[in-house]
Symmetry: C2
Subunit: 297 residues, 2 copies
């Protein structure tokens, strides 16, 4: 039974977790801590968790402690809290990268505390404690990457926690998680950042033209590229290998399409564009997006 949950790092994820728990009318006590006094102040004003001013008060007696900071800060947080963690309690996280997190955190976890790494695949381009909403995790996947020898009942507590917030939960190895996410999230984000950067740099086209005439495609990129810079820096620093592998493949394919454009090879382009359409259908059928067209592209 979880009676007390500690959330460390009070941004979009933690505030959505807290709001989801409130929405479910769960009697669990939720304590929050953030390293920034300003964020703590904002977070206490919204009254969705009890905000405390030190890590010890946050995590002691907690049954479940979830690190909701950017990936790059997880190691440092765990090194500071490990001595306060309750015997038998569970430590988890929401990091977008799992192999590096497991490698950094595992050696710091005290005996009798169970580390169950988690990654809820949910988010928006907003950040901060005011950006959360209770439905963020609804119908979204949460991937657990538990270590071998973790008792099944501890894994099940984390699984139930996310399912109660509306998520579908699955398990994979940290390595496989990182490759899957490199394809479905990390590489697309880097590419969106790159394209927005190119537009900003192009001297012949003014920024106001880019902004005014961003009707098609580009607007989606700017939204992706507006995501939290710290979070994304940490993702690429910590999922280097898989991200570089996928980006290498991407460059290869892009060169092939470039060549088709240069050579005027319409059949190649048409076949390529037709093939990608079917992936979209799969995503709609899998319930990950609606069929409603995005107005105004």
């Amino acid at each position: 039974m979880i009676e007390k949950v500690a959330l460390i790092g009070l941004g979009l994820m933690a505030s959505s977790v807290a709001r989801g728990l409130i929405n479910n009318k769960e009697s669990v006590k939720v304590i929050g801590y953030d390293i920034s006094p300003e964020v703590r102040k904002i977070a206490s004003e919204i009254k969705i968790f009890e905000v405390v001013d030190d890590l010890e008060s946050a995590v002691k007696d907690s049954d479940l402690t979830i690190i909701c900071t950017p990936v790059g800060a997880i190691r440092s947080v765990v090194s500071k809290i490990s001595k306060y963690l309750k015997k038998g309690s569970i430590l988890s996280d929401v990091g977008s990268v799992k192999k590096a997190v497991v490698e950094a955190v595992f050696p710091l976890v005290p005996k009798g505390v169970y580390f169950v790494p988690a990654h809820p695949l949910a988010g928006t381009e907003e950040s901060g404690p005011n950006s959360g909403f209770p439905e963020l995790f609804k119908d979204r996947w949460c991937i657990l990457t538990p270590l071998e020898n973790t008792p099944q009942e501890k894994i099940k507590i984390v699984k139930d926690f996310w399912e109660n917030l509306g998520s579908k939960v699955t398990e994979m190895t940290p390595e496989h998680h990182d490759l899957v996410l490199a394809v479905t999230s990390h590489a697309p984000h880097l590419i969106a950042y790159t394209m927005v950067g190119v537009a900003d740099d192009l001297a012949q086209v003014t920024n106001s033209e880019v902004i005014n005439f961003s009707a098609a495609g580009f607007r989606d990129f700017t939204r992706i590229a507006a995501s939290d810079p710290t979070m994304w820096r940490d993702v690429f620093l910590n999922n280097k290998e898989a991200a570089l592998e996928v980006l290498g493949r991407f460059s290869e394919e892009l060169f092939a399409l470039n060549r088709a454009i240069r050579q005027g090879d319409g059949d190649f382009l048409f076949d390529y564009f037709t093939r990608t359409r079917s992936i979209r259908r799969g995503i709609i059928e899998a319930g990950q997006d609606t069929k409603a067209p995005n107005f105004g592209r």
Copy 2:
């Protein structure tokens, strides 16, 4: 005064124009033609225009003829209809590329007919006569690329036409239009197609994993990459120069970011990701998108 409008090519654009005119309760008569008998059949069933079975009946007596086909078909349509176009009438289009269209069409336009090229920056990933809706052009830009010596009153008729459908209208040269759109639309589309193709190809990650775990970023790409293959083939065949220039710049930047990842240069990544965030703010302030976060990324 426009009493009769002919729409050639009955897909998303033409059916949205027709629905917009109906919504405005305009008394203008709208005739539609499509080369495909099947599309003509579907189009007549939705009763938003009078569908005819030949180009001559569609365009004769028309005050405004708008070619709404993919860019690659515009030249062939104009060569077939030019002899039926009414003296004093206006010929226009909705093509996503302007320089190649102007070069192909201008020599075919008969004396006394005025060609006013147009590009409404609006669309969805859907296609066909059933995909249209009256608000498609609302608050979206429509770019006119009129030729020198076109009488101002003819340009004004096209301008008023799109403004009545809710668009904001501006003018630029065909060359500049093609470069601006290469940045804001063509290159982003190609990149999205490429990323979706890479995901489909990656042997270590199954398609069902790609589909299930496409929570972040990638889903926007699949939507972009689900756009009409014929339209996009024609865009790249006809805006080769500007598209290749922008894609070349993109590859350069991507290599720089790749190197930063490989070298673990967190400051470079953080600065890059911070800079791109401000472009997003500009787009929201320019009214081209809402601030509402995209749920579920």
